[in-house]
């Protein structure tokens, strides 16, 4: 059961299509786990539809209709098909970005219990990465200069404010410090979307900070 959801104002931005692509992908991932938020986004879309119906119509030339009618028989563009070999638990969009098994990704080891794999979304301002935390492992205490959005994909973790399981969505802003620990029993995999780099706060981990510079794109 998913217990942690994006705030409503954030879902509204998602539905209106104004979120940056990396954040949008993270919210879409949450929706594939969460029926409550899917129902809410349906309503938010109706609000969009109601605004749309009330717009002041702008004249469209007859030639535009002719162009469209002439193109109705064009072949449809091919759509993405799910990768058969991939982890079937993943939401479709993430499946597309990950394109294979977790094991096949390029993982960069940051500490003994933390590896990171950077995925490409094309978002020029946000890093979109998978964090892999060993069973029971801890991410050293850290902070951010910006926002950090997290979606749990596998396993789970706990931090100062709660426990999180697959489908749970979290946003942290600014300089809160936290130190998540993976739950016992399974490796934890999370998706993290950042607009400023992670900063380890403890002296013995700070030397790692240069490794964590933001990799947007």
């Amino acid at each position: 059961m998913v217990e942690h959801h994006p705030p409503t104002d954030f879902l509204t931005e998602y539905v209106a299509g104004v979120l940056p692509v990396a954040q949008s992908a993270c919210v879409a991932g949450h929706l594939s786990y969460c029926q409550r938020c899917r129902q809410l986004t349906d309503k938010l879309e109706d609000i969009g539809g109601a605004h749309f119906e009330q717009l002041d119509p702008q004249a469209v030339g007859e030639s535009i209709l002719d162009n469209v009618l002439a193109r109705l028989d064009d072949p449809e563009p091919l759509r993405y098909a799910r990768n058969e070999a991939s982890d079937a638990r993943l939401p479709g969009l993430l499946d597309r970005l990950i394109n294979g098994d977790y094991a096949d990704l390029a993982w960069k080891r940051v500490t003994q219990s933390l590896s990171i794999s950077y995925l490409k979304t094309g978002d020029p301002h946000h890093e979109f990465a998978l964090y892999r935390i060993a069973d029971g492992g801890r991410i050293p205490e850290h902070t951010h200069g910006g926002s950090e959005m997290t979606l749990v994909l596998q396993g789970g973790f706990a931090d100062e404010s709660g426990e999180y399981h697959p489908g749970d969505f979290l946003i942290r802003e600014g300089w809160d410090k936290h130190s998540p620990v993976a739950l016992e029993g399974e490796e934890c995999i999370c998706l993290a979307v950042l607009d400023a780099p992670l900063r380890f706060t403890r002296l013995r981990h700070r030397w790692l900070n240069p490794l964590l510079k933001l990799r947007a794109g």
């Binding site: 609000i47 539809g49 702008q58 535009i64 209709l65 009618l69 109705l72 490409k120 978002d123």
Partner: protein, 206 residues
């Protein structure tokens, strides 16, 4: 949450019959036209649909004045072609035709913005749609969805809340852009959005 496998199977098992629930069948003209387009590639119905919706799509393209008239016409064509291609997937029990067209127009506009900004992404907005197996398979929607109902309710919102929803939904402004434009703190914009949605949501369920 049900595993995807189960959800997929139940969707198949329920087939088309899954929507035959008494949630108030939508009989408005545009939903009917869209169903005709989807089921029998009816060009006359499509043309009627075009004449009604193309001017709204153009208005949507031009609100926020970030697209030129040429791009707006291009967007109208893109959206209407998608309407033709996707009409088979339209479900009148699930959404009003106007909401359905709105989501297509929104996706196309977002993608057009990104193209114009030479934004290098492999993701199109359509990729964000949930796969059908991820959608509700047999869950009855308890609230009758309807843009027309929401339209009535929108008139009851305080003007300051309505103004911000318009900026976000139609002009495609983020909350921080809306805040900058209206010279308001971001927190105020967010709380107005939350209050507006809360109110609408309550009324939609009532």
């Amino acid at each position: 949450m049900a595993t995807k496998d189960n959800a997929g199977k139940s969707a198949v098992a329920n087939g088309r019959g899954k929507w035959n629930v008494p949630t108030g069948r939508r009989t408005d003209e545009w939903s009917e036209a869209l169903v005709l387009v989807g089921e029998s590639q009816d060009r006359a119905a499509f043309t009627r649909f075009f004449r009604h919706f193309a001017p709204l799509i153009k208005a949507f393209a031009l609100s926020g004045s970030s697209l030129s008239a040429t791009h707006a016409d291009e967007l109208v064509q893109e959206v209407m072609l998608k309407v033709w291609q996707k009409a088979g997937g339209f479900n009148p029990e699930k959404a009003a035709a106007s909401t359905w067209v709105y989501t297509i127009a929104r996706n196309c506009r977002t993608d057009m913005f990104r193209r114009l900004q030479k934004f290098d992404t492999a993701l199109a907005s359509d990729d964000f749609e949930l796969e059908s197996e991820e959608e509700e398979s047999f869950v009855v929607l308890h609230t009758r969805r309807g843009a027309e109902r929401v339209r009535e309710l929108l008139g009851d919102l305080p003007p300051d809340q309505a103004q911000i929803l318009g900026k976000v939904y139609m002009e495609g402004k983020s909350h921080s852009e809306a805040a900058a434009e209206l010279d308001l703190p971001l927190g105020t914009v967010k709380s107005r959005v939350r209050l507006a949605i809360q109110k609408l949501q309550g009324l939609m369920e009532a």
